[in-house]
């Protein structure tokens, strides 16, 4: 542990308003030389905004930032770098087709007497900087020849080559595997011992407890608090991030999701054994039976969506096997998944789902039509019939079947998307955050629909960060932490721990198997 001395970076009462949302509301933050300071919070907590204001990407509305006692107001990332604040963003902003050495020193290459770039010195300087991080590699090679983990080291090297005092690492570990994370932490420890102040933004609880000295939690643009890592229990941390107290939770189950009796007799719709993808999800086992509603719980970035993506064939697995309807599948793809009766409602309906320029009818029959091929078009009458049926069943509020979907409210767009998949009459439907950003009424309708589907024998995989919803709708909840399935809450088989409620899920999200 470093001695907590005078802070090197002091943020006081920082405020940042975006159109329609107050992204930062009077946030205070202090950073000391020689510490790793974890910055945590769920989506929309304000972490990214804080970093972007700090590094000059966004101007601040009010508040004060002091570096080494001097008030600063950088207007660009390079201005912030000039002041000694270097940032390594998650997407690693480097130039893959240039050499490692150039990436470290681009824009400040050493020159010889006649003003030409001195390549020999440049390679030496780059090698020295990397050696300081304990990384050894051929700096003359193209960056593209190395892994993302190395690219991250190179980005850090670029940051510290400019005598940075503050290093901000924005979700550096989200695409690294275990070994690479360990390597990164070694580098971070080295820099900490040299007196570097490091801000570490991450979603991974285990990593926070492994490396950080202090933790600051933001929620909805506000500061929740800053604690020394040793004095903050995991469960308390999760509570602070999610913004609710475990004992106050109501464990009321509203949904009708009974455990289907078919579970013992029926074959699972999908059965994953040791299924995993390097750098995405650790190998896991999962069976989903007809009529079952299985919830996937975990913090943002815990690997929830990734599990769904593997089952739907969006991502290809690097290990394990997947059986669908009792048959083991190879070269799994969304196309084959759809053919096998798996439907997917993605998290961001605007990005991956509804086509806003098309009408309600066209959106609903889209998947059904594409499954039939262009040589077997659905008649207009049939299209109208199908669209009408789901508009009625789901209560989609639209003036007509020909209204363009872009003009509907978020909740209704979500339902149109759902209708598209229901029209396919799937055996398994994967819902990724179906209730995010829609109003309470629409939410209840979607929850009821999940119950109806389940009653009709459709298996549902529900991915959600709303623990309440999971507790209400699911017959079984699988909990992920740090891209690993850590536990399952199954009231039907687990006699000791049969409470399927928010606090039980929250405890599992926060804790090791202890």
């Amino acid at each position: 542990m470093p001695t907590l001395t005078k802070p090197i970076l002091k943020i006081h009462n920082l405020r940042k308003q975006f159109p329609g949302v107050l992204a930062l509301d009077g946030v205070d933050f202090e950073l000391t030389a020689g510490e790793v300071h974890a910055l945590m919070g769920e989506n929309g907590a304000g972490k990214s905004t804080l970093i972007k204001v700090l590094t000059g990407v966004h101007p601040r509305d009010s508040g004060r930032v002091e570096l080494d006692g001097q008030t600063i107001a950088p207007t660009s990332p390079s201005a912030a770098e000039g002041l000694g604040i270097s940032t390594v963003f998650q997407e690693v902003n480097l130039i893959p087709r240039l050499s490692v050495a150039e990436n470290i020193l681009l824009g400040r290459q050493p020159k010889n007497a006649i003003g030409a770039i001195d390549w020999k010195t440049l390679y030496q300087m780059a090698t020295q900087t990397l050696t300081r991080l304990g990384v050894e590699l051929d700096v003359r090679k193209q960056l593209a020849e190395y892994s993302i983990a190395i690219a991250q080291m190179v980005a850090i090297a670029r940051g510290i080559a400019l005598d940075a005092k503050v290093l901000i690492l924005d979700e550096p570990t989200s695409s690294l595997d275990e070994k690479e994370v360990t390597h990164l932490f070694t580098v971070m420890e080295r820099l900490r011992n040299e007196g570097m102040a490091i801000v570490f933004v991450t979603h991974f609880l285990d990593q926070v407890y492994r490396i950080s000295d202090r933790i600051t939690v933001l929620r909805n643009g506000r500061l929740v608090g800053t604690w020394p890592t040793g004095e903050l229990e995991r469960l308390d941390l999760v509570e602070h991030m999610l913004g609710r107290k475990v004992p106050q939770l109501s464990a009321q189950r509203v949904g009708s999701a009974a455990v289907p009796s078919s579970k013992i007799s029926a074959k699972p719709v999908v059965k994953a054994q040791g299924l995993g993808r390097r750098g995405s999800v650790h190998p896991f086992d999962l069976e989903i039976f007809p009529g079952e509603v299985v919830g996937l719980a975990g913090l943002l970035g815990s690997g929830r969506s990734e599990v769904g993506r593997l089952i739907f064939g969006f991502d290809s697995a690097t290990t394990g096997t997947l059986e669908v309807g009792g048959n083991q599948v190879v070269n799994w793809s969304p196309r084959k998944a759809i053919d096998a009766g798996i439907a997917w409602c993605p998290e961001d309906r605007k990005l991956d789902g509804v086509i806003p320029q098309l009408s309600v009818r066209e959106n609903i029959v889209l998947a059904l039509q594409s499954a039939r091929s262009i040589f077997h078009p659905l008649s207009r009458a049939k299209q109208n019939e199908i669209a009408q049926r789901y508009v009625a069943q789901l209560g989609i509020k639209t003036t007509s079947l020909e209204t363009t979907v872009g003009t509907l409210s978020g909740g209704n767009q979500q339902k149109v998307l759902l209708a598209r998949w229901l029209a396919m009459e799937p055996k398994l439907i994967i819902l990724d955050e179906p209730t995010r950003g829609i109003d309470v009424g629409a939410k209840a309708e979607i929850e009821n629909l999940v119950a109806e589907l389940s009653a009709a024998g459709v298996a549902v995989l529900l991915i959600s960060s709303e623990l309440e919803d999971l507790a209400r709708c699911c017959s079984r909840v699988v909990v992920l932490r740090d891209r690993r399935i850590v536990a399952a809450l199954d009231p039907s088989s687990d006699l000791e721990q049969n409470a399927l409620d928010e606090s039980a899920i929250m405890k599992l999200i926060a804790h090791h198997n202890d």
Binding site: S76, P77, S78, E81, G82, F89, N93, L94, I95, P96, R97, L98, E102, L106, G107, Q109, G115, A116, I117, D138, R140, K141, Q142, A144, E145, R158
Partner: protein
């Protein structure tokens, strides 16, 4: 050893194609492998080569410039008119033409960068504008009869049994200069970085705006210089000169191994592409088969090279 890296394969392929073409032609035709042919390879297309060097800078930066043929055509008639009808000294006419070309390029570059417009469209507008200006100057060909002009176009250094002309020297000097700038100046590296990933380059604090404007200014300069080389070669100017030449120029650059998406390529490659282009036309001339075959061959080669680049691209 590290030279035979993945990144160098397109360049090696280009060199191999050139060697194969030239070698095969030398075996098939007597007198192909001679100083005359080699000298011709350069002098007949020097203006194309000069323009290709400028285009290489633009493509390396991730851009494109469709206006080069039009600017070359404009420059030829502009220079010829200034010398013959306005009785400017050739030195002054050339200086004015180079300034006009550079400013024209810079203006297009600034428009592309500051209005965030596609280079394709801005330079397409530039193409029409420059071609229109060429016809605005005068409708027909203008002959140049001037002592200084003849003196300069007659400058040559001996090469084998023949000699290397002024425009070839101009091309080679420009080639070496630009290769050095690309490899040994911060500007040259910034061009590659911007072509590789403009957003990252901005976040890395590189002077993106200045560099991009400079890239198009350099290409405007090269177009004007190519136009001057053309007038020196033909002793005349004509508003219809170099129509469609921008496409030959782009083909030469891409055959030379420079990726159209930017960030990867070299001036050595462009030299090789330029020589392949010339060699193909020489071969059709020797074989007496007409230039249609040459055009077909260049089309096939271009396709082969872009396929190769796609296969070799890192994923």
């Amino acid at each position: 050893m590290s030279f035979i890296a993945r990144g160098n394969l397109p360049l090696l392929a280009t060199a191999a194609v050139l060697a194969a073409l030239f070698g095969a032609a030398s075996l098939c035709f007597d007198n192909f492998c001679s100083s005359y042919v080699i000298s011709d390879l350069f002098s007949q297309n020097a203006f194309l080569g000069i323009s290709a060097l400028g285009m290489t800078v633009v493509i390396l930066s991730g851009g494109i410039d469709l206006s080069v043929g039009a600017v070359i055509g404009f420059t030829t008639i502009f220079v010829a008119t200034l010398i013959t009808q306005c009785e400017f000294s050739p030195w002054l006419a050339w200086t004015v033409a180079l300034i006009v070309g550079t400013v024209y390029g810079a203006a297009m570059g600034a428009t592309i960068h500051f209005f965030k417009l596609p280079a394709f469209l801005v330079t397409l507008a530039g193409l029409f504008f420059a071609r229109g200006m060429a016809f605005f100057v005068t409708q027909q060909s203008v002959q140049i009869r001037n002592d200084v002009h003849e003196l300069v176009s007659g400058v040559a250094i001996p090469f084998g049994q023949t000699e290397i002309g002024f425009t070839t020297i101009l091309f080679l000097v420009l080639l070496v200069t630009m290769a050095c700038v690309s490899n040994f100046s911060t500007f040259g590296r910034a061009v590659l970085a911007i072509g590789g990933d403009e957003e990252s380059a901005t976040l890395m604090g590189l002077p993106v705006a200045r560099t991009k404007v400079a890239v198009y200014a350099i290409n405007g300069f090269c177009s004007a210089l190519a136009g001057i080389a053309m007038t020196l070669y033909m002793d005349s100017g004509n508003p219809i000169n170099a129509i469609g030449l921008e496409l030959d120029v782009i083909a030469v650059v891409v055959i030379g191994g420079t990726l159209l998406s930017g960030g990867v390529g070299s001036f050595t490659g462009t030299l090789l592409g330029f020589l392949i282009y010339g060699t193909i036309y020489q071969i059709t001339y020797f074989a007496n088969v007409g230039s249609s075959i040459a055009t077909i061959a260049i089309g096939a080669l271009l396709l082969a090279f872009i396929l190769l680049q796609q296969i070799l691209a890192p994923r």
